[in-house]
């Protein structure tokens, strides 16, 4: 290990946190029982008090109406009508109770159970929803529509976060998800337009995403360039490239190059008429169905197969994998490529499902939200899926809420997804641990 990079001034000893990692420091600390921190109880208490004052005491006195069934369902459930003021009080009191419970556990130095923050979050979201709807000009909202819309908005985020999981589990940081989404969206549009076949567009999107990813893989693995820098540069590069081609080629001949046509929505008979769940699970485009398949396949692949064990080993302790005859850099290369293909498919959602044309920056930063979803989901495909849904939900909520008209300015609502991110990452998730070799290139000694 060289000392040159880390010793700034002669005679001035380094602060401990500035030091390069030292093998001995990676050992288990001397005292094994970790003390339970005040972080969670305090976060919960603050949120519960906010909920009690805003949603409860200052809450609207109207009734919030939540429609469950839509017209086409094969059985109808009545809409739920909730007295907003009462619900606000009751729910926030329960939240205060949960926060109190967390406090009691802390004083006994017991780690709070995992359900506690989850239940708390659900209660908070529900009471927020009742507060918003109850105070709106038209205090009625379709729950089915809200959830179905959330899933739709979450699709590219889910694919992006799966791409992140695939790369980072193997030890390569993928900041270029945004670029892969954008590359996929652009290629899907152009190929589908030229061939008049959206399915070929979908395939091409996967290839495009993989190609973008291969650039990341080659530079970060073979040439050991800083992965964050390559990723950022790729994002800028793809954004510039697609933007340029859009304004020169696509705009010039829109008919030929930018009219991909949409992937049809495939409705599974009977099942799609189940209230709430039907439209989410059984009334999707190919990309939507692929999303569910991808989440499950990546999860099973990572945690139940030989391939996954090796991938995770490469991301955690590449040297150990190497001494067992596993080809570290080849594993990383193909994983990053696969991740790119997955993100590319996600990108096709923008141009083949959401709308039927490409515009500049169509991915609109969702690649970065996907990165947050991956962290929030603790590098687990299923966790990332639900985290992405949370972002999709927040995204959808703000547009719906703007439509029904609430006293809260829409700009504040637009901040919602990001507020959710900050709170979720800071307080509710707790310590999340990335793969140990994440972002560290492997060079054979």
């Amino acid at each position: 290990m060289s000392t040159t990079a880390t010793s700034p001034v002669p005679g001035k000893p380094l602060k401990p946190q500035q030091r390069p990692p030292h093998p001995d420091r990676n050992r288990k600390p001397a005292v094994s029982a970790k003390p339970v921190t005040w972080k969670l109880p305090v976060t919960l208490l603050v949120l519960a008090v906010v909920a009690f004052i805003v949603f409860g005491l200052l809450g609207p006195h109207g009734t919030a109406k939540f429609g469950i069934s839509s017209g086409g369902d094969f059985f109808q459930l009545p809409a739920i009508e909730v007295p907003a003021y009462l619900a606000g009080i009751v729910l926030s009191v329960i939240m205060l109770g949960l926060a109190g419970y967390a406090m009691v556990l802390k004083t006994k130095n017991v780690r709070p159970p995992r359900w506690l923050p989850v239940v708390f979050t659900v209660l908070f979201v529900v009471s927020f929803l009742i507060w918003v709807v109850g105070g709106a000009r038209t205090p009625s909202i379709s729950l089915a529509g809200l959830i179905a819309g959330s899933v739709t908005l979450a699709v590219p985020i889910v694919f992006g976060s799966l791409s992140g999981v695939l790369c980072e589990r193997a030890g390569v940081v993928n900041i270029a998800i945004e670029g892969q989404l954008l590359g996929g969206a652009f290629t899907a549009a152009i190929v589908a337009s030229l061939t008049d076949n959206p399915y070929l567009g979908l395939l091409a999107a996967a290839v495009a995403g993989a190609l973008v990813s291969m650039v990341l893989a080659v530079f970060s693995i073979k040439y050991v360039v800083n992965q964050i820098i390559v990723g950022v540069v790729l994002n800028v590069l793809i954004s510039g490239l697609t933007g340029f081609l859009f304004s020169t080629v696509m705009q010039a001949n829109k008919e030929m190059f930018n009219s991909p046509g949409r992937l049809p929505i495939i409705e599974i008979p009977v099942l799609s008429s189940i209230p709430v769940l039907g439209p989410i699970l059984f009334k999707q485009s190919v990309v939507g169905y692929l999303m569910y398949v991808a989440v499950i396949v990546v999860w099973i692949g990572l945690f139940k197969t030989k391939w996954g064990l090796r991938v995770r080993a490469v991301g955690e302790h590449p040297q150990a994998a190497d001494t067992l005859g596993i080809k570290v850099n080849a594993t990383r290369f193909w994983n990053v490529t696969l991740g790119g293909a997955v993100a590319g498919i996600g990108g096709s959602f923008f141009t083949l499902v959401a709308i039927d044309s490409f515009t500049k920056e169509i991915s609109g930063g969702r690649g970065f939200i996907a990165l947050a979803a991956m962290i929030l989901g603790r590098w687990n495909p299923i966790g990332a899926f639900f985290a992405a849904l949370l972002f999709g939900f927040a995204d959808n909520l703000q547009s719906i809420v703007t439509i029904i008209g609430t006293p809260v300015p829409s700009q504040f609502m637009a901040m919602l997804p990001y507020l959710v991110t900050v709170f979720a990452v800071a307080g509710l998730v707790g310590r999340s641990r990335p793969p140990a070799a994440d972002g560290i290139p492997y060079v054979k000694g």
């Binding site: 040159t4 000893p13 602060k15 005292v31 970790k34 197969t305 955690e316 596993i326």
Partner: protein, 567 residues
Amino acid sequence: MVRVLKLELKGITKRFGSLVANDHIDVVVEPGQIHCLLGENGAGKSTLMNVLYGLYEPTEGQILVDNKPVTFRGPGDAMAAGIGMVHQHFMLVPVFTVAENVALGAETTTAGGFLNLDDTRRKIQEISDRYGFDVDPDALIEDLPVGVQQRVEIIKALVRDAKVLILDEPTAVLTPQDTDELLDIMRQLKSHGTSIVFISHKLREVKAVSDTITVIRRGKVVGTADPGASTTELASMMVGRAVNLTLDKSPAKPQETTFEVKDLTVIAPSGQHVVDGISFDIARGEILAIAGVQGNGQTELTEAILGLQDRVHGSILLDGEELLGRSVKEVLNAGVGFVPEDRSVDGLIGTFSIAENLILDRYDQAPFAKGISMSPAKVLENAMTRIDEFDVRTPSGSLAAGTLSGGNQQKVVMARELSRPLRLFIASQPTRGVDVGSIEFLHKRIVAERDHGTPVMIVSTELDEVIDLADRIAVLYKGKLVGIVPAGTGRGVLGLMMAGLSPEDAHGDTAGSHPARATAETPAEPQTGNPAEPQTGNPAEPQATNQATAAQPAQEFRSGAVGDDHE
């Protein structure tokens, strides 16, 4: 039934650029033998084993397995040929379970590539039962103590059907108790027909367990030795000249106590009390050695004294002045000399010259500095004096410090710290990774500083060093002070204290020791001449009380081993 394997290395040469790490090395490992490669750090032992394990390709030479030449392109080939390796730094994924780690790279799968860990669990259980390892296949590696992790490494090799097991400095991370257990495991493996290549520079262990010893020096085989050879003989073969392993040290003449630590607690960023309410003092003219297994708070303790730790409570008094809360510079200026545990990270700036490194703590003071300018002539002049005084082997003081060998680097650090008047001297791992010849020199300098009337604090994880240097020994365990015992306390007692037993319990435990343990320990240095040693060998009344809780794994291991020993 058991397939045995003869391994031969013929004329192995490995060059890295102009550096010859291995120079025509010939070694024959006979089937069912424990073959020791003895040599100092940097002698080329690990390089040789990495060649054998397929991690490096030899520049010249041949590897023969059962008299047939083989080429290993990677560890996979070596494993297929029946060679397993336990690396000095374990190659285990901390967040995986034991079973997952063992399966990795040699997975059994059902149709479709799904993992079949049950099969791996069964194999682990089988090996664990055969050797009495007591390893839970579903435990996470990061939750296991180091000794158990090492067993997992051995299981990993055995599951892959290793006939020759390479152990690279396996005892470096172990407590003396764990070390004894490992030596027992090695004997058992041998009795089951596994050959072992044991790499070490610790003479005591080598003598205790080897059948054949090959000594390597500067990349060359300098000879073979019999385990019956005396440690002095082995040491001089290893170093290439006569060495005096015993430190000539006059008894301490402690004067007044000038350094006091009271209720010192250091809190890590994670909120853990890594140093937990410890108190001790050191008198002028006395060496206090802090013993303990690595990672029990030693680093934080020394850093706290120097002012490098942020969250420290308690009191650190030097000549009645409080050091706590002062900046590092103030602490150094108060007359504290400090040799950090990792010289290459904290002790030296590798790209700076030796001369510059020698004044890192006084670069802004006369005579090296005048106002804002420095005087290179004075710096170089100082370097010449120090290099002479400390016998640093270098052609010039203007060479980069990073080019020196470990021992010479350590001499530079020591020379810097001892070249100003001190009121306290702290040395952490003063001889880690240092050749035997330099150890002798460094130890003498430390004792000289003591005799000069400075309170000296030594932190070491090497029990031999602690025993050699200390006038009193303080043992740290999980950040707490287990106890302070006088010099001459038995190796066994110290070992148990390092596992957390109080001095009283430790004495009781070793006094009633099992005959089995006594034999495992007898190859102790005859010439260390510890007055308290006789305590250990008293099997007269085997007490039941020796089933001490802290030594539990040891006990379980032994009881499991009894029945299976002669197959």
